[in-house]
Subunit: 201 residues, 2 copies
Amino acid sequence: MGCVTATTRVRLSPEERRSQLLDLGVRLLATRSLDELSIDVLAEEAGISRGLLYHYFGNKHVFHEAVVRRAADDLIAQTAPPASGEPLERLLTSVTAYVDYVVTNYEGYLSLVKGAAGGNDTLREIYDEARSALTDRVFREDAQGTIITDTPAARLVVRGWAAMTEELVITWRADPSGVSREELLEIIAASLPALVGVIPG
Amino acid sequence: MGCVTATTRVRLSPEERRSQLLDLGVRLLATRSLDELSIDVLAEEAGISRGLLYHYFGNKHVFHEAVVRRAADDLIAQTAPPASGEPLERLLTSVTAYVDYVVTNYEGYLSLVKGAAGGNDTLREIYDEARSALTDRVFREDAQGTIITDTPAARLVVRGWAAMTEELVITWRADPSGVSREELLEIIAASLPALVGVIPG
């Protein structure tokens, strides 16, 4: 796993090659921070030359941003709610996928959070896009307002809920003692309806 | 305001002078990011020489960390709940002070959050201390468990609530449209008991 073999390589278009290398980069990010993900590491894991990687990505900066964008796209895709079902049930499926994504891709996710908060504008933009995709989804998937009615206060509360969810998952992943995965999921899932209850008006 | 006059200067001990300069630094941080708070700016506002400031703080790095630590101490002190009253009422007073602190010291607070998340270990440590002081307080001020019983899941939820509160205040400060300060306070205050209700077991 993780190697681009000579056999597959010749059959792929440059676009497909680039995409495959980004997937590898995202996989490597699961256990590495962005700082630890160098062109050298990718070249070694992919079994191709550094020169070829520079051909695809220009420099380390561009490479990192492309990998993070791919990671954010993966996160958005993997947390897409099922097409049918009750709004709350669909959101629970989405939340569970989010928790599993962060737990599995912990180091890379932390890198995105840190990079976004630390003042890298591109990472900030990617992070905000991913965050919006997740929070906007609450309103889109619940267009009838079964769970929540779309108001400025509700938008604010859902943003707060998303920040809380991220904090809960990251904290739990760092030290899960005393709280099971099921309890964590129950807390996150039940907290949205609970918070809706405190919206004024 | 903000100027250390020659008259007061001669009467102060070096420790008091340093403390006064830190207070000025914190005040300047209300409308500036940490990056914008230079030794030059402080020297000009304090009306003293850069050389003297270097004497007190060594270098810009040490100066910044000292200012941020002072800001965190101020935050903790200003958000101390009143000595008497019902636990929930005391916590509401504390939360209101926190919201007002962040709104008033917005730029400096953002700097602390960014610096802590962005990988500056000292800022991270100061931020974590301040965050713990605020979250531990919930359990200390409510030792009888009127609002919340001290369990690993409850500690996790209170951490999540603190992250949510920070997100709510920062987001609202950046764009308050459609949500009044009173509504914001109501949301933050009511959300803790609401979240306690979702703790399993």
